[in-house]
């Protein structure tokens, strides 16, 4: 999952350009070339450009030059209008997603796993864009589970390295677009440089309340509850709370999802046909509507997201509001 996020941020997508004006910016570091396999990196120079898309819209985009080819990231600000079958007043405020199936997708296509993650980044970008444009306030994605630490060290180090570079390259863009980045999870296990990067990203984008993107990294639902209890214990020790005052509401306020105004997901989507939450947001999912979809994450697109939202809205209409 981390790999797909990393590839989202360093994605190179060729789109036709009518005009290109390149303004100077420092060149960036390496980007990852997924089609070359997991361990190969390709040096890529990144510039900021004003581009005109096929549709004649002026956009600010990142333009990459690598090996003589020029690639421009998709226009993030162009958003599809809300489909007629969805009602804006019934949109969920907080959507959580378990992005599952990149590896299986790649295997089915006879491609390396890395290609699955690259394809998965398309889905991730689509969903972020749709949430951003359709009035959903918070999107939480399960990027890296605490259970994933049992993977080979080479793999986890590689993933975290890419994640770090991705944050570095996207922070300013998110700040411009009003996207607040938050990261939840046990950061004690993360490399120092990544921890520093996360802190910087959160600080830089915190004043942008239009949309919040929460990345769950090295996260588990049980860890969240335990750290909440530890916070409560500290408050008791410091005299800020009495033992008799401790109840579930006190613990809830200390959960890491307290970084948002809407900490409880209204809708949880999991792809690839799996029917479990896999230690994700255990406390927070008490009244969350589940939508389990058979499609593998790279194949989860706008139609599938509309289906999930439509299903959610139909149940809301029939059974009223939730807690």
């Amino acid at each position: 999952m981390l790999l797909l996020l990393a590839n989202m941020f360093s994605l190179r997508l060729p789109i036709p350009l009518e005009k290109t004006l390149i303004t100077s910016l420092p060149k960036t570091s390496t980007t990852y070339s997924a089609y070359s396999g997991m361990t190969r990196f390709q040096v890529c120079h990144r510039y900021l450009s004003n581009s005109i898309t096929k549709r004649g819209t002026s956009v600010v985009a990142f333009q990459d030059e690598a090996d003589g080819e020029i690639f421009v990231d998709e226009d993030f600000l162009e958003v599809d209008p809300l489909p007629v079958e969805l009602q804006p007043e019934l949109m969920p405020k907080h959507v959580a997603v378990i992005m599952d199936g990149n590896g299986r997708w790649a295997k089915m296509k006879g491609l390396p796993t890395s290609a699955g993650h690259v394809a998965g980044t398309q889905s991730f970008k689509r969903i972020v864009k749709l949430c951003y444009g359709w009035g959903i306030k918070v999107l939480t994605v399960f990027a890296f589970s605490m259970d994933n630490w049992i993977r080979p060290k080479v793999e986890t180090e590689f993933l975290l390295n890419l994640f770090e570079r991705s944050i570095l390259s996207q922070v300013e863009e998110c700040k411009r677009k009003g996207i607040q980045i938050s990261v939840i999870g046990d950061t004690s296990k993360l490399p120092k440089s990544l921890k520093s990067m996360i802190a910087n990203a959160e600080e830089t984008t915190k004043e942008n309340p239009k949309f919040q993107l929460i990345l769950a990294v090295s996260y588990s639902g049980k860890y969240d509850v335990v750290q909440a209890c530890k916070s409560v214990a500290k408050k008791v020790q410091d005299g800020l709370l009495h033992l008799e005052e401790i109840n579930e509401n006190i613990i809830e306020k200390e959960l890491e999802t307290n970084c948002t105004e809407f900490p409880y997901p209204d809708l949880l989507i999991r792809t690839s046909g799996e029917l479990r939450v896999s230690n994700f947001l255990l406390w927070q999912l008490a009244y969350t509507e589940f939508f389990f979809n058979q499609k593998l994450w790279p194949d989860f697109g706008k139609d599938e997201f509309v289906e999930a939202l439509s299903s959610f809205q139909n149940r809301q209409r029939r059974y009223g509001g939730r807690h």
Partner: protein, 233 residues
């Protein structure tokens, strides 16, 4: 004519024997499939949770029918949950009808390893979820502060997942993590089932209890037996 009659009789005898043979074969196959099915379930489905929307949980007869179905297919360990504790109030009625069922409190050994001669039933409601975790955490804090008062170390960081697990046992939350959770009700949500217990639980929405079907139940259980868990790898 005698020859014709003889041939006719012989034909009928052969048909009858063939028919009997086919029936015996059919019963034999059913036994094999049933035994294989029970082995599949017993091996994989060690603990089943059933979440019922509280409005529908008042239909005790339907709940009992569901339990009887589960017993018949070899599912012996069941946790029944509804948010408001309606099922807890129906506990006595259920045990009166389900004579081979015991409460989880009566079972001393590991509930998933008891002999399959009886069912084990656990009744759970919202207070056994988040509230129980708060109680368990409180228990740990109290113990920790007591230790500090008599000269021990006070360390709020000492609280670990394993400590909460133990404390939950002490406050009465003995049940294990269910392998499969079936939700009966109009909404696709587990309605506050104890969050500490559903890390890797398969969750299947079965629709309203009013329209429960044996076939759907079997299908949900069978589909579960085909699932492969990666647990993060």
């Amino acid at each position: 004519m005698d020859f014709r009659d003889g041939a006719h009789n012989l034909y009928h005898i052969i048909v009858a024997i063939g028919y009997l043979g086919l029936q015996l074969l059919w019963y034999f196959m059913q036994i094999i499939v049933s035994v294989w099915y029970h082995i599949s379930i017993v091996g994989k489905l060690r603990y089943l949770a059933v979440v019922i929307e509280s409005e529908e949980a008042h239909q005790t007869s339907k709940v009992i029918k569901l339990l009887q179905w589960l017993d018949s297919v070899g599912v012996k360990n069941v946790c029944l949950y509804d948010m408001n504790g309606v099922l807890k109030k129906s506990k006595d009625t259920i045990f009166q009808i389900m004579k081979n069922a015991k409460s989880i409190e009566e079972v001393n050994e590991d509930v998933t390893h008891h002999a399959p001669d009886h069912m084990t039933l656990e009744f759970v409601s919202y207070v056994d979820g988040k509230e129980a975790v708060a109680k368990a955490a409180n228990l740990i804090f109290v113990e920790n502060f007591k230790r500090h008062d008599i000269g021990g170390e006070l360390d709020h960081q000492i609280l670990l997942e394993s400590h909460l697990n133990q404390a939950l046992q002490i406050v009465g939350c003995k049940g294990p993590e269910p392998d499969l959770l079936l939700v009966y009700g109009p909404v696709r949500s587990h309605l506050g089932f104890p969050p500490w217990r559903i890390r890797y639980t398969e969750i299947v929405h079965m629709g309203s209890l009013n329209f429960m079907r044996y076939g759907s139940l079997i299908k949900a259980i069978y589909n579960f037996t085909k699932v492969r868990h990666n647990y993060g790898t």
